[in-house]
Amino acid sequence: MAKRGFLGGFELLVLLALIRLGDDAYGVPISEAIEESSGREVALGSVYITLERLEQKGLVSSKLGEPTAERGGRAKTYFHVTAKGLREVRQARQTLISLWQGVPQVEGAV
């Protein structure tokens, strides 16, 4: 079997947030989306480190936006999921679905 790295749990969360946000995906909405879904505070530093790692793997691309006064004159960096990233998310979904089947102990638990 060919050697392929699995997506980490937080990597998957970040990729899913990126897909949901579409063109408006930068640090603030990404971290807010993860916080809303998980109910836990997210460190923006961790989000950026994860995005950087995903970019190095070719799963995410980024582009610099315009600086705004609201951010103290600092530009936003927008992130996009690449085609390879989308394939990896689909693969992770398949893996998770097949693993979830036949695990009645955790069904219905929140």
Partner: protein, 135 residues
């Protein structure tokens, strides 16, 4: 500092200690969230994490440099302690425990011990015993 401006010292520290890549965007994101109602405590916590995560990544990416810096620092401390007698042992009480922070390098007065065994920094945590603790 007014309510609209994030803590300056924290921002200054981040500008110097966080990873260079996308640093400005990251600080901009933190400033934006702060101005949308996050507290100064939240901002400082996030900044601490940025610096911590950045340092961890730097160490992982440049392991050899990190080890070299550690060895240099240890050597400098050893020489400083050896020639000046600094780093005398310190013992403090923390609740029911006695915490003893021993020297990183022996002082001149402990020269004989220097060559008896190699001294390394460590922290001893023993159950408090009044006989062991000076008043």
């Amino acid at each position: 500092m007014n309510a609209f401006e994030p803590p300056r010292l924290t921002t200054w520290l981040m500008q110097r200690l966080s990873p260079r890549q996308k640093r400005e965007s990251l600080i901009g994101d933190l400033v934006e969230r702060y101005r949308h109602g996050r507290s100064a405590g939240w901002y400082r916590r996030q900044a601490f994490m940025v610096i911590l995560v950045g340092a961890g990544t730097d160490i992982r990416d440049h392991l050899l440099l990190a080890v070299r810096a550690l060895v240099m620092c240890w050597t400098a401390l050893f020489l400083l302690g050896f020639f000046t007698g600094a780093f005398a042992p310190v013992a403090v009480r923390l609740g029911a425990y006695r915490v003893e922070i021993r020297d990183t390098a022996p002082s001149v007065g402990l020269l004989r011990d220097t060559f008896r065994g190699y001294h390394v920094p460590w922290v001893c945590r023993d159950r408090m015993d009044d006989r062991q603790i000076a008043p």
